[in-house]
């Protein structure tokens, strides 16, 4: 046999590779089917239905009115998602950006500090790690409900504490003012997002090799420089994952704002996700789907901006 490959041999091997590729797909198929069915059933189909629904007119009981599609009426018509009278759309869009940005930023910064602390060796570290994870173990709805009742004007325990310690003169109805309720919700959202983020970063910290740090130490870098130039760059993938998941999670997080906002109607404490539910109740599934579609696009844009700025996939040398 000669050592140079003949054209027929090359053809042969590509064909074999192709055949084995198809074969591999075929063998994998039985294992992929459940996932594919799931993606088709719970992701693609509802998304398609949502987009479809947003082009038809419904009343607020969800009964379709008329068979003809109504174009962009549900988006920008007289009763459209962006143009319905009495809805402070600009403010709500701003709220949405604030909500995601503030919650994710503060969460990540606090988590970095917490993770650094939990990475130290000290007595009772295991117990403390357990406590930090607790808010995660509680249902979000339950946590939000506890805050809602605690902040209730007449019987709320947090209010009582604030008044008794002299921080406040009078009890406040925190959850009945759109603005204060919004910031309370931001606080609660940070509280429930901390455990996951802290643990992701903690895992990242534990992957930072000791010898690299020691080498920097030997080279004379002080603590702050070691953290900034050595640890933080190595944490990049962990932070990227934590931030990305938090962005999606916080953006879609309904229960906190829904439970903590007690003001009815189209007030100035909504984000687009809660506004969607307000629309569903008042204007029916057409308009609310239209807003969902916009929401979906909005979420994609935020993630795209994030990816463009942070470039988390960029390899760290």
């Amino acid at each position: 046999m000669s050592l140079t490959a003949t054209p027929s041999m090359v053809r042969d091997s590509t064909r074999r590779r192709k055949r084995s590729g198809t074969h591999a797909v075929l063998t994998a198929l039985p294992w992929l089917v459940p996932t594919l069915v799931l993606i088709l059933g719970v992701v693609l189909y509802p998304a398609a239905l949502m987009i479809y629904t947003s082009f038809f007119k419904y009343n607020n009981r969800g009964i379709q009115r008329g068979d003809a599609p109504v174009g962009l009426d549900n988006y920008i018509g007289t009763a459209g998602a962006l143009t319905f009278p009495g809805v402070p759309v600009g403010r709500i869009l701003l709220n949405t950006v604030l909500w995601v940005a503030v919650v994710v930023l503060i969460t990540v910064v606090l988590s970095l500090a917490l993770a650094q602390f939990l990475n130290l060796e000290f007595r009772g570290r295991k117990a403390l790690r357990l406590f930090v994870i607790l808010p995660w173990a509680c249902s979000v709805v339950m946590t939000a409900t506890v805050f809602r009742y605690g902040l209730q004007e007449n019987v709320g325990l947090f209010n009582r504490l604030l008044v008794d310690t002299g921080i406040l003169q009078r009890a406040q109805a925190w959850t009945k003012d759109p603005t204060s309720a919004f910031w309370v919700a931001v606080f609660v959202a940070i509280y429930v997002s901390l455990p996951f983020t802290t643990y992701t970063i903690l895992a990242g910290l534990q992957a930072v090799p000791d010898d690299v740090r020691e080498a920097a130490h030997v080279d004379g870098a002080d603590g702050l420089r070691r953290y900034w130039f050595i640890v933080l760059p190595l944490l990049r993938p962990a932070i990227a994952v934590a931030a990305l998941i938090n962005i999606i999670n916080v953006f879609n997080s309904l229960p906190i704002l829904r439970l903590l906002q007690e003001t009815p109607g189209y007030h100035t404490g909504h984000i687009t996700t809660t506004l969607m539910f307000e629309y569903q109740r008042a204007l029916g599934p057409g308009v609310s789907s239209a807003l969902s579609v916009l929401n979906f696009i909005f979420c994609l844009v935020i993630i795209a901006i994030y990816l463009a700025i942070v470039q988390p996939t960029k390899e760290v040398a």
Partner: protein
């Protein structure tokens, strides 16, 4: 990821629930019926969707179902009870899924009637049953097209309830009849101090439509405007201006967006002088030791005052199945029979709608209870039969509380704009 886990868990619970439900469904064919009559051989499933009026609601419905199954052993009755909070969403979800309940107990019917997915009541209720319902209440279930689309199943009247002890302490001799007297009374009550409020004004999601209607009627106005409904009338502006005045003077509770329950809590704690109340609130307050008396609701210039009637309804959805329709019909006739209805309506803590039970109730109940029953024949109703009401009601629930900080005319204009945008 924790989100996925939660979704999975939820899915598992829902699935298990669905299995449990279908497991309950299959019942054994009953012993052979001696007569070849229809009841025993009717074999189908009917679905009921009802709100929870009280802790006993499930049991109250079940009692009727058990009795029904004695005659119709092969009809499965699937009962779903949901809380009032978000009940509309549950109904919408069922409608959107095409899973119409055969029997729905709700407080609105116009949108479904308008969409043509209901049976007219005279097709499912027998003539005797229809005749047994108090005519003034039955009229409330007539749509704008003149068809009886819904039958009232429970009523409540709103009158002004006041705390007699607070009134005495403040030196108020008579319950107020005019707006001016109402202000004076509220001022005296607030002057008592100790966080006592004069008048409870719930403009939150639950009650805004009721509270604002009462003030509108007090100003001599009405929502009805020819075929449609109109919010920004001069009378409504006057009514909202008066509500704002009460709020700004500090006569009301601190947050106008409070719901009825918040106000009822204040009243039952003896911290509130006056509120528009229904029988259950009065009964609860009395049980908590508050000395309550009732009066007609004050109007701008006095006169007889107003009382508001609210009825909830039974509607029957058209599922295009003769067997289910027959079973639905038989079930509803049984439900409205004196024997079954008495226990059922008492369980709700509200007022009955059949003439025989209203008369019986008047004879049995105390002074306050009888006053509500008397009021049933003079009450004014919200325009629930008009499809536009759904829209106006939602707009009121979302915006009426803004009168506290905004200009009355502007608030009403915004409400009107929301209504117009959907017509």
């Amino acid at each position: 990821m924790h989100v996925n886990k939660r979704v999975l868990k939820f899915g598992a619970v829902a699935l298990a629930g669905a299995f449990a439900l279908s497991a309950c469904g299959g019942s054994e064919p009953a012993a052979t019926n001696s007569e070849p009559a229809d009841p025993g051989s009717l074999e189908t499933t009917i679905k009921i969707l009802a709100p929870s009026y009280s802790d006993s609601s499930q049991a109250d419905w079940q009692a009727i179902i058990d009795k029904f199954n004695e005659t119709y052993p092969d009809v499965d009755v699937e009962l779903q009870i949901e809380g009032w909070d978000g009940f509309t969403d549950k109904v919408s979800a069922r409608i959107q899924a095409g899973d119409y309940p055969d029997i729905l107990n709700d407080n609105a019917f116009a949108a479904s009637a308008d969409a043509g997915i209901l049976y007219p009541m005279d097709e499912v209720l027998s003539a005797d049953t229809l005749a047994a319902i108090e005519p003034s209440l039955l009229a409330n279930g007539v749509g704008t097209d003149g068809t009886q689309w819904a039958a009232p199943d429970i009523a409540s009247a709103r009158m002004m309830a006041y705390n007699v002890d607070l009134f005495e302490a403040a030196g108020i001799a008579e319950p107020p009849k005019t707006w001016a007297e109402l202000e004076t009374a509220a001022e005296k009550l607030v002057a008592l101090g100790d966080d006592v409020r004069g008048y409870g004004m719930p403009l939150g999601r639950e009650e805004a439509q009721v509270e604002s209607s009462l003030w509108l009627w007090g100003a001599g106005g009405d929502w009805a405007d020819g075929e449609g409904l109109k919010a920004d009338t001069p009378e409504a502006t006057e009514a909202f201006a008066q509500m704002k005045k009460m709020y700004e003077a500090g006569y009301t509770q601190a947050n106008l967006e409070d719901n009825r329950v918040d106000i009822a809590d204040l009243f039952q704690a003896g911290k509130l002088g006056m509120m528009m109340a229904h029988s259950a609130i009065v009964a609860d307050a009395e049980a908590k030791g508050v000395n309550v008396a009732l009066a007609p609701i004050p109007a701008k210039d006095g006169g007889d005052g107003v009382a508001l009637g609210v009825t909830d309804f039974i509607v029957a959805f058209d599922n295009g199945d003769a067997d289910r329709k027959a079973a639905t019909s038989a079930f509803l006739d049984l439900m409205y029979s004196d024997e079954m209805y008495e226990g059922w309506y008492k369980g709700t803590g509200l007022l009955p709608v059949t003439t025989s039970m209203i008369d019986k109730g008047k004879a049995e109940s105390d002074e306050n209870g009888a006053a509500f029953l008397e009021a049933l024949s003079i009450v004014k109703f919200l325009p629930v039969g008009n499809p536009a009401w759904d829209v106006l009601q939602t707009a009121l629930q979302g915006s009426a509380y803004k009168v506290g900080s905004g200009d009355p005319a502007e608030v009403l204009a915004e409400i009107q704009a929301q209504v117009d945008a959907q017509s």
